[in-house]
Assembly symmetry: C2
Homo-oligomer: 326 residues x 2
Amino acid sequence: MERSIAPRKGRLVFGEFRKIVEEGFERYLAPNHDCPARLRESMRYSVEAGGKRLRPVMVLLACEACGGNPTDAIPAAVAIEFIHTYSLIHDDLPAMDNDDLRRGRPTNHKQFDEATAILAGDGLLTLAFEILTRDIKNADVAVACVLDLASAAGVDGMVGGQMADLQGEIAEMADASQDGGTVDPESGQTGADEQCEQTGKVLQLEAIHLRKTGRLLRSALTMGGRIAKADKNTVEMLDHFGKCVGLAFQIADDLLDITGDEAKMGKGVRKDAELGKLTYPGLLGLEESRRRATSLIDEACRSIEPLGDRGLRLEALARFVLERDH
Amino acid sequence: MERSIAPRKGRLVFGEFRKIVEEGFERYLAPNHDCPARLRESMRYSVEAGGKRLRPVMVLLACEACGGNPTDAIPAAVAIEFIHTYSLIHDDLPAMDNDDLRRGRPTNHKQFDEATAILAGDGLLTLAFEILTRDIKNADVAVACVLDLASAAGVDGMVGGQMADLQGEIAEMADASQDGGTVDPESGQTGADEQCEQTGKVLQLEAIHLRKTGRLLRSALTMGGRIAKADKNTVEMLDHFGKCVGLAFQIADDLLDITGDEAKMGKGVRKDAELGKLTYPGLLGLEESRRRATSLIDEACRSIEPLGDRGLRLEALARFVLERDH
């Protein structure tokens, strides 16, 4: 009974928790004497641009699911969103992805200028670690959170993933696929003897996404668990949940690029195909991609069953990843 | 007796300690599976470009001066140099200071490309916090070090200072000085009724440098003290030492820009005047600037007298700041 109403409960809490973390952003970006006004404005501009706040809300939900007080997780929630935001600001720069629009508004370097955008990113990244160590009162927990977040965001994680992406690892895979192994996204048809090659490519694609977006999402879950003083097994369980949800999220993103509504997305769609990027639908077809995402979310939800009812809101958020339309 | 041979001892240790921290850099930038090779090369390129290693050596010396084992301070020493290096990589970018040369070699974005340079900077910054939390074994000390370093490097410190500099605060001050208050650097002549205005400008110039370079240097000292489990008063004493040395270092830098040898410096000299930047010699004249730097170093050394003989090597390093020719 309780279980069946979880999505509704989840959605409700999602909005409440989003409000809590957004109030946190404001507090941490309030004017102060030493930060130049334009720099602060630039950081606020990108942080306040919105987005789903998936990562910070996951921090609070993971903390709650482990019996902790979600309020204690606000510093970690703010820190992870600041790191996510910095990565978007730097990724949008002309030397990187060269994007003019983000969530329907000019990107940071378009609204301000490149130097300000670089420094706003540097500032948000650094502020994340300042917040964790200033406001998480238990030193062991603070250390574990900084380590989770820094290793997820760093050269072995997100920064390394962005570098690999820029170096064209995904594009190269797409080129190599011209000879076979990919399918028509609409029909999903592929030859039987190409299935093995395809599996290898899916694994490769997954490996890149695990670094570029997956590691950071996982750290949202593990930080939430650590703040609730969860034991090692529970933190590992949350980590696995985050890994599955992260991959499903990426597949959903690839699907939205094909089927999504530009107005709702606040950014251009069907860009992946134009850029010749390898995507899950490109490799597996639409239907199989949807099946795979669903099966990953099922795996995620199964993995946190030991949390019992306390895990229901996390489950609901995982399901939302599949249902979202932007 | 002991006191009079300090500079010689200091110089010896400086070289030894530099070697220790440079071995640390290598260890932390060793190849691993997850970091793309080009990204790691780019980070190594800038870290290995050399420099005086003033900040990391100060971490070790401060630790030693407080009775700690300098080896314990290696993670913090590596972390602060990585942050210093990231700031140089980003400052050199075309959108920022647009420099082609750094320490006699092409800047990172010239040697690699802009995207790689941005990511190498992001990677080094993030790695610094990973190192502190992975390898400082005492959690309270690790938290204090992350907080020292992040607040020194962030928007209220180094990043904010760079923003203020880019926004032309220093240049504006120089413009405003056209009417009076500045002196001919060679003669040091100025009118008596302009002295008050001059004092105000020196304080303003100091305020910018305290943010842009001073805060980071101070965190080298406080981290070293914290690792040695120094008490609060001692950490504050080290902080004041760092503040004085940082300002003297900046004055020495301004002086070297006028009197320095381009080959030894590994970068263009007399750029400040060309760029119309306000400098200490421009405000105070050469002689008064030298006097001011000497008096700051004297104040620094007096402030750590309570450390007794254990502080002699720190003193020697402070004196080196004045004597250096590059």
